[in-house]
Amino acid sequence: MEAIGQQFFNLAIMERALPLLLMGLRQTIVICLIVIPLGLAGGLAFALLSRTSLSPVRWAAVVAIDFFRAVPPLVLLIFVYSGLPFAGLRPSPFAAVGIAFLLNTSSYYGEIYRAGIESIGLGQWDAARSTGLTLSQTLAYVVLPQAMRNVLPDLVSNTVEVVKLTSIASVVALPELLYSADMARSVTFNSSPLVLAAAIYLIMLWPIVRLVSRLERRIAT
């Protein structure tokens, strides 16, 4: 018991590691603030492209969505970070993380939007068009608001996944929360900084996880 306390809940070490971890947390938040809004926008683009009447574009969008959902994000990240230099491009860790996460996140959001749009009956489209709304007005004022409501739990839960995803940026040495904690761990030979990082992730994400459960249950019943 004593050993577990020393090894995982050493307050003195946590206190020393805290400033470093808070710097990492800032980096984590910066990544989220870039990837989540751009991913939501990119996802909408993916979803709309996967429903256009132009079949080559439609197929390309569906293939892209499936491809980036099939490749584990860590594989994509390492491919961008250490593969692209062989093609003459040298992305910084931050740029590599941005590119890889955007591709991954957009395709997940894209699939969610797509399911949402498909959940809206064709009658809604016909009715809206017959009142004189154009195609884009129908989409913006009639279909998307209802579609978003239907898939809200999935959008929120995917956003939790994006925040959790940022932790793998540590693999390419981007000093975000987990990287900082792991650095503190390797310096102190003690797991307490990792426990502290876990606590920070929990404080950020637990309320949202609860919210997702509640939203999902409301729709299920």
Binding site: L76, F86, K164, L194, A198, A220
Partner: protein
């Protein structure tokens, strides 16, 4: 140096494909083994926990919810590092593949418990009451009446979650599990060429595209009826 050789030489060099094909295949076998083990233990543990929760014994339910919340909120890589570096210091030594299996199973179980529980809740109370009034016991009602209806609804979300979590087997590379990504990055640094990375990516796509397509099919086949 990068400009010196062309795109094909950097990403699709034939002799490297030949040389590293067996290595990548080996990685693929490891990935499949761990993924299968995770799917098996994760889903069964999740179902077990959801069933346990349906007995509605307060302290047990609270613990299950706590477990599910924590393992859904924490990034898997944090858990992997915590278990891998933390346990040896308290005298428990697990091989790295066991660490990966353990962590991913627990994460999958947490998500599955929530999904199964939502499924169980979605079965109307009348079904419980009708079954009980025919003389079925609590477990009989659960097994013969409630679960068959509940599980049907949970097929698409369980499939999607399972795919997402088995993809996390790639995290094993960080702690040295010899799965696809690990073999590919090792081969890449030995050969100084991106071909093995490309092979690794292709291996993942071949493994997961059919599963992703299956997930989409199940989604339409068993779709929740939403208003």
């Amino acid at each position: 140096m990068d400009r010196g050789f062309g795109f094909l030489d950097a990403f699709f060099k034939w002799e490297l494909i030949e040389r590293y094909f067996p290595t990548i295949m080996q990685g693929m076998a490891v990935t499949i083994e761990i993924a299968a083990a995770v799917v098996l233990t994760g889903i069964s543990l999740g179902l077990l926990l959801a069933v346990a929760r349906s007995f509605r014994v307060l302290p047990a339910s609270a613990l299950i919810v706590l477990f599910a919340d924590i393992f859904r909120a924490l990034p898997p890589l944090v858990l992997v590092l915590l278990v891998y570096f933390g346990l040896p210091n308290v005298g428990i030594n697990l091989p790295s593949f066991a660490v990966l299996w353990l962590v991913l199973s627990l994460v999958l179980a947490a998500f599955c418990e929530e999904i199964f529980w939502a499924g169980i809740l979605s079965v109307p109370k009348g079904q419980w009451e009708a079954a009980r009034s025919t003389g079925l016991g609590f477990l009989g009602t659960l097994i013969y009446v409630v679960l068959p209806q509940a599980l049907r609804l949970t097929v698409p979300p369980i499939t999607n979650r399972t795919i997402a979590i088995t993809k996390n087997t790639a995290l094993g590379t960080v702690i040295g599990v010899g799965e696809i990504l690990n073999q590919a990055t090792t081969a890449q640094s030995f050969s100084g060429n991106a071909t093995p990375l490309m092979m690794g990516a292709i291996a993942y796509v071949m493994l997961f595209i059919p599963v992703v397509a299956l997930g989409r099919f199940l989604e339409t086949r068993f779709s929740w009826r939403r208003a």
